[in-house]
Structures are given as C-alpha cells and as structure tokens.
C-alpha cells in the first residue's frame, strides 16, 4: 500500500527474558491520527521507541515511508519526524528560545522559525526565560514546539497533554487538528481516554505487548459488546414499567422513585425505546449512554 506511512511487521522485543512487545503488526496511513492506548507496561513506550529507531526490535521489521528505521536513509527521514517524549525534560540552564534553537540546529532547520513556534504554543512571553523557571505545563508546551520544528510530516506524541490545563489542552488539539488537515500523520498516546476518543480516527489497544484490538472508536465499541445504559425519568408505577419491558432481554433494571436505569445489549436498543414510547406521557425523559472509551478499554484490558 502506497499510503502507509508506518508499517510495523510482526515485531517482537525481548528485554532479557521479558517479552515487552509480542508480535505486533500495525499500519498507519498518511494523514491518519492513531491513538495508542494500554496500561503502563503494555508495551506502548517500547513500541514508540522502536518506531523512532531508538531501540532495535529483537525481530520483525519497521518501515517509515518505506524506509527501515535505521541507517543513513532514516537519518534524513528524521528531519521530517517530530517527537515529544513522555515527561519531556530540557536543559535547565537554557532559555526556552535557546532550547528550541539547539534542537533546530540539530534538525537542520532555520533559527528564525523558533520564535514563531513559541508563539504558536503560547510561550512567546517566556521565550527569554530559563527553562528551570517553567511550570510543568510550560515545559510540555515547549516540548510540543520542539516536536513541531522543521514542519514534520509525522508526529509521535507520548502523553502530550499531561500537565496542561483544559484551556491548553483545547489549544493543543486545535493545533493538532490544523496539522491533520495539512496531511500530517500523528501517533499519540494518552491515559486520558475520554480526551482522545473524540480526537483520533483510529485506536490501537495494547495489552501485555500484544495488539489486542484496533479500529475506530465505534468499531471497538461494537466488537467489545458492552451494554448500553439507558436512564429514564417516569411517572408510572414500577409494576407498569416492568410490564412494559416484559420480554425484552435486559442485563439490569434498577427502578427508583421516578427514575430507572436499564442495561441492555446494543441490538435491543430500538426495541427498548419502542416499548418505552408506548408508555406515552408517563415517560418524561430518556438518555441513552454509549459505553465510554474507558469502558471499552477496561473491557479489553480487564
């Protein structure tokens, strides 16, 4: 496939006796945003580092734009890859601008692109301050600016929003959205699943070094088959409610005073809604809740 930016082919990684990555095969297409999720120790970071060519796989192959992730051809490719490590740490004795200029020099991009980048991530006011005075969020912004040096076509972002406040998180995703629109491919990990589920096109779930599932949020939801949760407000007696739902397979039915909570399989959703509709005026409100990504994720991980 021409459009595959990243190809991971049957990759294994042993640390001594410990199997960290267990036969992962994965492709990421041009312009796609892939979310990589998994518990600590699921092999996310190891996979990340192997895709960046920082550590070699024990076996298997990884290609970026068709180039193996080692050797001198990959060095050239690195100029078009941006990387934001988890818990990024910079040199305390440099200012934000100097930090950026240092990495710009290594990447071979223009020094005068640095200040505009700091503006872009909202750090222009602190450009001439030393990094040791930066807050966690500011360091993270600086890390993001660093990853954007040299207009990368491929971004690896490891837990990019840790330490950012909600406002900054929104700004971050808006920048990411713009980049995406320009065809930049993004691989991102995050622990805050609710945050990335709306923002990635595809998810890959890692568990104990294996690729457990991959697909869109909707595909994952359907494949993991978690029950829907339906909350209702009503004015009828509990018997009447029970009667109305007679014969529908429910996984749970909890009836309160004027409320009730139903857990039902996705395939019975419309049936339940029709039955509830038959209650007429006695029904005041219906809220259907899809399982969240956390539920999906726990469904896989648990």
């Amino acid at each position: 496939m021409k459009n595959n930016v990243i190809e991971v082919k049957n990759v294994f990684k042993y640390y001594g006796e410990v199997l960290a990555v267990d036969g992962i095969t994965l492709t990421v297409q041009k312009g796609e945003t892939l979310g990589l999720i998994g518990h600590n120790g699921a092999g996310k970071s190891t996979l990340f580092k192997m895709m960046l060519g920082l550590i070699p796989p024990t076996s298997g192959e990884i290609y970026i734009n068709g180039t193996p992730v080692h050797g001198s051809a990959f060095r050239e490719l690195r100029r078009s890859i941006g990387y934001l490590p988890e818990n990024v740490v910079f040199y305390d004795n440099l200012t934000g601008l100097e930090t950026l200029q240092f990495f710009a020099a290594l990447k071979g991009c223009e020094r005068d692109t640095c200040l505009p980048l700091l503006e872009k991530v909202g750090l222009a006011h602190a450009a001439y301050r030393r990094v040791d005075g930066y807050s966690k969020g500011m360091r993270q912004r600086l890390g993001f600016a660093q990853a954007l040096l040299g207009k990368p076509r491929l971004l690896f972002l490891d837990e990019p929003t840790t330490g950012l406040d909600p406002e900054a998180i929104r700004e971050f995703y808006s920048i990411l959205h713009d980049l995406n629109a320009q065809g930049v491919t993004v691989v991102i990990t995050s622990h805050i699943l609710s945050e990335i589920q709306e923002r990635v096109q595809r998810l890959a779930v890692l568990k104990s070094g294996k690729l457990h599932a991959s697909g869109t949020v909707q595909e994952l939801r359907e494949s993991v088959n978690l029950p829907l949760i339906i909350n209702i407000k009503h004015r009828c007696a509990s018997d009447l409610l029970r009667q109305a739902l007679q014969g529908v397979v429910l996984e749970a039915l909890i009836i309160g005073d004027h409320t009730a909570t139903l857990h039902c399989h996705r395939s019975y959703k419309m049936e339940v809604v029709r039955r509830l509709g038959a209650l007429g005026d006695a029904l005041e409100d219906v809220v259907v809740k899809e399982p969240t990504l956390e539920d999906v994720f726990l469904g896989y991980a648990g």
Binding site: E76, P85, N87, V89, N93, F102, A105, G108
Partner: protein, 273 residues
C-alpha cells in the same frame, strides 16, 4: 554508521562548551590552576631554602606532581555525567530522535568537554607561564609549554575514561562511584602495586617489563613525558635508572596518550548501542 556529519558534532560540542562557560566552570577551574601554579612557582623551591620565582624545572616538577592528581579528578568529575545524566533526566531519547548518530553525539560531548577543560588549563597555567616568561629562558618556556600540552592530553585521557564510565553506568550514582574508582586505580593504586611488586621481587622483576607497565598508565606517561625531558629532573627523580631512553621519545609517549584517548571512546561507542 560511519558517515559522520561534522556539523552535528559541532552543535553538541558548542552546547557543552557554552554550558561550562556560562555556569563559570571554566573560570573556576582556571582560577584553581592559577592559584596552585603561582603558589608552587613561588614556594616550590622552599626546601632549598629560598622562595621566589627561581628554578623553572623544579617548578614544573612540582606542578607535575600536583596536576597528576588534580587534572584526572577534575576531568572525571566533568565527564562522568555526560551520557548517564541525559539518560537519567530523560533527554537522551529526544536527542537520539534527532538526525544525529550516537557516534556524533559521543564525539560532540567529548570534544565540547575537552575544549572546556583545555581552556581552563591553558588559561590557568598560561597566565603563570606569562609571568614566568620574564624570568626564564626560551628553553625552559618550551618545557613549560610541553607541560601544558601534556596536561591537556592527560585531561583528555581521563575525560575519555569518564565518558566511557558514563555510557556504561546504569545511573549517575554508580557513574560517580566508578569515576572515583578510575581515579584511585590510575593515580594511586597502580603505582603502589608496581612499587610493591618491584620491592617484593627484590628489584629483579623484569627490567624490560617494568617500563612497559608504566606505559599502561596514562598518569605515569604524563609524568615521564615531563620529567624525562629535562636533564636535571631525570637525575633528581632517579627515573633514568628504571626507564630506558629508547621508550622516552615524546612522540612515542604522545602516541600512547592518544591511544588512551581513543580506546575508552571506542569502548564507549561500542557499549552505547
């Protein structure tokens, strides 16, 4: 692997060097060197019952005795953190994700730190050299310059060892421990063992072997380089009795120093994969 981009090495080296200028490391070490050199030049011949800037050869000999302890220690302290520090902070992955090879990173770090140490050495001892220049002849100045160059080489050898320690060590604490061990080994223990063996064997222990063993210690090479090439001191130290003239060529000794610089760096690169 071996297509090297000099510009990447320069960028890393320039950062290391600038860091040491900025945090006043270079000026602090230069001041220490100046102070010691002045004190030794002035009081160095006190045992002959005189003080003042007199005998340059004795001054060099005293400086050699000082530098042989001080420079390895300073170089090891300067360099042990080079790689393990980046790794422990978490910035190593970011650095290596840049278009730079490990060899370039290692050489950049090494050369930047070497430049810092060389500047401090040149500034510190050079200043005293300028003061001495009014009082001594051109020949002695030549020896003094030789002393400075060899001191820089000595520093570079121990920096190379420090970088090797820094690559191999798991964390900074272990790296500092290993660096101190390297210092003890080469500066104190090695000579003591040689001396012990020499005494125990009643002096019969290989006439040919002993000088070669001296060449295996960069600190001893430094001493020989500086002592052997001044007539007075050679006799004064009694070095000529154990060290053959054939091995005393500054070129041979200098090459040994270079080998001592290259070898640890090579091991460091090999282990840095």
């Amino acid at each position: 692997m071996f297509n090297i981009e000099i510009s990447q090495i320069k960028i890393i080296a320039a950062k290391e060097f600038r860091d040491r200028i900025r945090n006043r490391w270079v000026i602090a070490v230069a001041i220490i060197f100046t102070a010691f050199a002045l004190a030794i030049a002035y009081f160095g011949s006190a045992q002959q019952g005189e003080v003042g800037l007199r005998n340059i050869e004795v001054t060099i000999a005293s400086l050699v005795s000082l530098v042989i302890y001080l420079i390895p220690l300073i170089a090891l302290i300067l360099g042990y953190d080079a790689i393990v520090g980046e790794r422990e902070r978490g910035s190593l992955d970011l650095l290596l994700s840049m278009p730079i090879t490990r060899l370039e990173l290692l050489l950049g770090k090494y050369l930047g730190l070497s430049a810092a140490l060389a500047s401090a050495t040149l500034a510190g001892f050079g200043l005293v050299g300028l003061l001495l220049a009014y009082q001594i002849n051109i020949d002695a100045l030549y020896h003094y310059a030789g002393f400075m160059v060899s001191a820089i080489l000595l520093g570079m050898v121990f920096l190379s060892l420090a970088v090797m320690v820094s690559v191999i060590s798991k964390d900074r604490a272990r790296a500092s421990g290993a660096a101190i061990s390297v210092w003890f080994l080469f500066v104190l223990v090695y000579d003591l063992i040689l001396l012990g063996v020499l005494v125990l064997s009643g002096g019969t222990f290989g006439d040919a072997l002993f000088p070669l063993l001296l060449l295996l210690n960069p600190a001893d090479i430094f001493r020989i380089l500086n002592i052997f090439n001044t007539e007075d001191l050679k006799v004064f130290y009694g070095l000529a009795t154990v060290f053959p003239v054939s091995l005393s060529s500054p070129w041979l000794l200098g090459s040994m120093m270079l080998a001592w610089i290259i070898m640890p760096l090579t091991i460091a690169l090999w282990r840095f994969k």
